[in-house]
């Protein structure tokens, strides 16, 4: 009954989306006054999709095995949190989450929007409905999450015991990482719809930029946090100490982020100067397009990745069709209406606008490189049949230097004034530059054999850490707007993350060996004793657990890494034992037994590696502060703006 309710809600929502779209078309062609109606429909549509998702959650929470999706992805023996999180740990469920966020975002846009003109808003809501409609169709036709189990079929295949959630995903990180990412990806749809709406109604201006900004900021913050969380999750779950692999699906999450970062900064130019209209609209379209490309890549099976969902070319074709229609329509609109986007006078060379244009350019180039690198093997194989691999060596070599150049510019940009910078900005940067050079000298003395990228990374990180604070020091920091604090913290976070990455690359110590209980192994400043190896068990797994005692001076730290064995589905996972200290992390893994009587042990000492994710969190936090700052400022001044509001 619950499943059927969810399905019915989904159908109703789809119907409303269709209605919303029709009304939008009518409104644009004949100037009908449908603003209120369309807003109401959008809100109801959002509510209905939320109901549908809630029904799916309920079905998973109760492990209702009569629903095929629950049967294939859950198990009565699982802990409760993973029963619930399993809702989105599969293709259909995560697609429903995607659509729910899409339609709820539309509902909020309808409910909260005050700045955009009614006509543009209706157009935007219509675009949002069009997006939702395609994905509703995909769900209802090709990926029904509420389908009941075909018992005859199940009995025949003998698969009576439900399969269970992939053990790699039975982890608290699963509860946090995908929904946060989806909120980010799909939050960008609002920017897409507003851009499409503005192009349709010919109202690309500063007002639009100010309306789009909170949405882009919000989605960007969530994407930043989601990617950071995903990186940390991979780090502690996969058992080898890596945190970014340039895997196609990781790249699929990075591309919308890069586009959104460029969009965020471009919007500022549009809002402040009414310039960069074409770039901003194009970036808004590209950002959500990248989200859709990511969805397609993960679910179509065309790229090999540890992340990929079940491979299904039929579903891939459906998604590709949606992608072609939506992005094609948006690009066509841009091509046709682009001619009417009048750009103003050129910018002065030393000005914030120019800084942001160059920032845009570099971010777009990095985006292009990641895009090309991810899809290049596919293109080459299509054209010549040759198979080649593109991975970390390429991306690090190419994106690394560009990122460093960007990081240098991040220190300069916020110091520049709009229109024309008359003060000697570069003098202000003397101290940061000196600090950077000092850091460079220290690295040469302390570690002469460090490779060039980590060395430059530490140099630039030091410079940027100092430079990013400068905007606060011009005036009384306590009187600086919250948005400025947000910008400073976010830029500082970049320096922190960069420092962490460079430290990890330059100073990690690794020890792999086979030792017997009672023997010790040294890694970095640590001496680690393997005290014992014992069996253990949990709710749905058995394990082998090592007792390690690590000492560095006086104190002894106990670490207990495990190898876990699941039976449903049969898999083996590594549970690394990680201990965090003020100056780094000790990362320990227990491997297989050796015929000589010993055990494989893998140890890493990673100085300051946590700076990577601390930096990511700071970047997200800074963005959140900026968002709050702007929303509060808007609230306080709303009485002034009521007069300017369009009817």
């Amino acid at each position: 009954m619950i499943a059927e309710t969810g399905l019915a809600a989904l159908w109703l929502a789809a119907g409303l989306a269709a209605l919303q779209l029709v009304l939008m078309v009518l409104a644009l062609r004949s100037d009908l006054e449908v603003g209120r109606t369309v807003r109401a429909i959008a809100v109801v549509q959002g509510a209905l999709t939320l109901v549908a998702f809630a029904m799916l959650l309920l079905v998973f929470a109760r492990t209702d095995l009569s629903v095929a999706l629950v049967f294939e992805n859950s198990n009565v023996a699982q802990p409760f949190i993973y029963k619930v999180a399993g809702t989105w740990g599969n293709h259909e469920g995560s697609m429903l989450l995607w659509v729910a966020i899409l339609s709820v975002a539309g509902a909020f846009l309808a409910f909260l929007s005050r700045r955009t003109s009614e006509r543009t808003l209706v157009a935007a809501l219509g675009a949002q409905a069009a997006l939702a409609l395609g994905f509703y169709a995909f769900l209802l036709i090709a990926s029904n999450p509420f389908a009941r189990l075909d018992l005859n079929n199940a009995l025949f295949t003998g698969a009576l015991n439900a399969r269970g959630l992939n053990p790699l995903l039975q982890d608290p990180g699963l509860a946090f990482h995908p929904p946060t990412l989806y909120l980010g990806y799909v939050g960008l749809s609002v920017a897409f719809s507003l851009a499409v709406g503005a192009l349709l109604t010919d109202q690309v201006d500063a007002q639009l930029a100010r309306a789009m900004r909170p949405w882009v900021l919000g989605a960007w913050v969530l994407l930043t946090l989601g990617i950071t969380a995903g990186s940390y999750w991979a780090y502690y779950e996969l058992g080898w100490g890596g945190y970014w692999f340039w895997d196609p699906v990781e790249n699929a999450s990075l591309m919308p982020w890069l586009a959104a970062t460029a969009l965020l900064h471009s919007i500022n130019v549009l809002a402040a100067r009414g310039a960069l209209k074409a770039w901003t609209m194009m970036l808004a379209v590209i950002a959500f397009s990248m989200s859709m490309v990511g969805t397609f890549l993960v679910r179509s099976g065309i790229l090999t990745s540890v992340h990929a969902f079940a491979i299904d070319p039929e579903r891939g074709t459906f998604l590709l069709a949606l992608l072609a229609i939506y992005v094609g329509a948006a690009f066509t609109l841009f091509a046709v209406r682009g001619a009417t986007l009048k750009e103003g006078a050129p910018f002065e060379l030393i000005s914030r606008e120019t800084g942001l244009v160059i920032n845009n350019l570099l971010l777009s180039v990095v985006l292009g490189i990641v895009f090309l690198g991810t899809l290049y093997p596919l293109f080459v194989e299509a054209v010549s049949g040759e198979k080649l691999s593109v991975g970390a060596p390429y991306f690090n070599a190419v994106a690394g230097p560009l990122a460093l150049i960007l990081a240098v510019l991040v220190g300069v940009g916020p110091l520049l004034s709009w229109r024309r910078e008359r003060r000697p900005v570069f003098k202000q940067l003397t101290i940061p530059v000196l600090l950077g050079v000092t850091a460079l000298a220290i690295t040469i003395i302390v570690s002469p054999s460090m490779t060039i990228l980590p060395r430059l990374g530490l140099t630039v990180a030091t410079y940027l850490a100092a430079a990013s604070i400068l905007p606060l020091l011009r005036r009384n920091p306590l009187r600086a707007p919250l948005a400025t604090w947000g910008m400073v913290i976010a830029h500082f976070g970049i320096a922190v993350a960069l420092a962490g990455m460079a430290m990890n690359a330059a100073f990690t110590s690794e020890r792999l060996a086979v030792i017997k209980p009672g023997e010790t192994l040294d890694v970095g400043p640590w001496t680690v004793l393997l005290k014992d190896v014992t069996p253990g068990a949990g709710k749905n797994w058995t394990a082998v657990e090592a007792d390690l005692r690590a000492t560095r001076g006086e104190k002894i730290t106990v670490l207990k890494p495990q190898t876990r064995y699941f039976s449903n589905p049969p898999t083996e996972t590594n549970e690394a034992a990680i201990e965090t200290f003020w100056n780094g992390q000790l990362y320990t893994v227990i491997g297989k037994p050796d015929p000589s009587g010993g055990w494989q042990v893998r140890l890493w000492w990673k100085p300051f590696v946590t700076l990577i994710w601390t930096g990511g969190a700071l970047i997200g936090f800074g963005g959140a502060l900026a968002l709050l700052g702007r929303l509060w400022r808007r609230r306080r001044r709303r009485s002034d703006w009521r007069k300017e509001r369009y009817v």
């Binding site: 099976g301 065309i302 790229l303 070319p313 074709t317 091509a335 986007l341 899809l375 299509a382 198979k387």
Partner: protein, 175 residues
């Protein structure tokens, strides 16, 4: 903005979509074929896998007549079904040599006793070194080597009953 710049994104999108359509139509082939077809078999010298059968080395493969080198293992599930087909090929005059990857003598002996034994010789490749030297990436795989020791054909996956005519043809061509 010139029309060229305005329509460029659309043009690029078209190229992108066409590439993806191609990819959806031609599914990814996750097999990594060996590049040694047409090249001589790399020199190797493997110990005997079980006491009752001879060891395998490169000199055994350049005797003037073609050989079918089958890379298998007792823990490989599809190999079980392949044994019957290999026995059929042996009955039709094909000389089948075996390379057992990452296997113990007792497991191999049990495997042969249970499923049949089409092999002339079996070499033991405990650390996959010869497998890697041949450019093979999994079990089961088979290589047809001609009389002068040149690799003529690589078959990835188990040889099925339907593949027998093709294999026989290739062995003939390798004479």
């Amino acid at each position: 903005m010139s029309p060229a710049i305005r329509f460029a994104p659309l043009a690029l999108l078209l190229v992108f979509i066409i590439a993806l359509i191609w990819r959806l139509a031609t599914p990814v082939d996750t097999n990594v074929p060996s590049k040694l077809e047409g090249k001589p078999v790399p020199t190797f010298d493997l110990p005997a896998a079980i006491p009752t059968k001879g060891a395998l080395s490169t000199s055994d493969l350049a005797t003037g007549r073609p050989h079918l080198v089958n890379i298998f293992a007792s823990w490989c599930v599809p190999c079980i079904g392949e044994v019957k087909v290999l026995q059929d090929l042996k009955a039709r005059g094909v000389v089948v040599e075996g390379i057992a990857v990452r296997d113990r003598p007792e497991d191999i002996a049990e495997f042969l006793a249970r499923n049949g034994d089409p092999y002339e010789r079996i070499g033991s490749d405990a650390q996959s070194r010869v497998q890697i030297a041949l450019g093979s990436s999994g079990v089961p795989e088979s290589f047809i080597v001609d009389g002068t020791g040149i690799i003529r054909y690589q078959h990835i996956g188990p040889i099925g009953a339907a593949d027998v005519p093709m294999i026989l043809r290739k062995v003939e061509q390798a004479r």
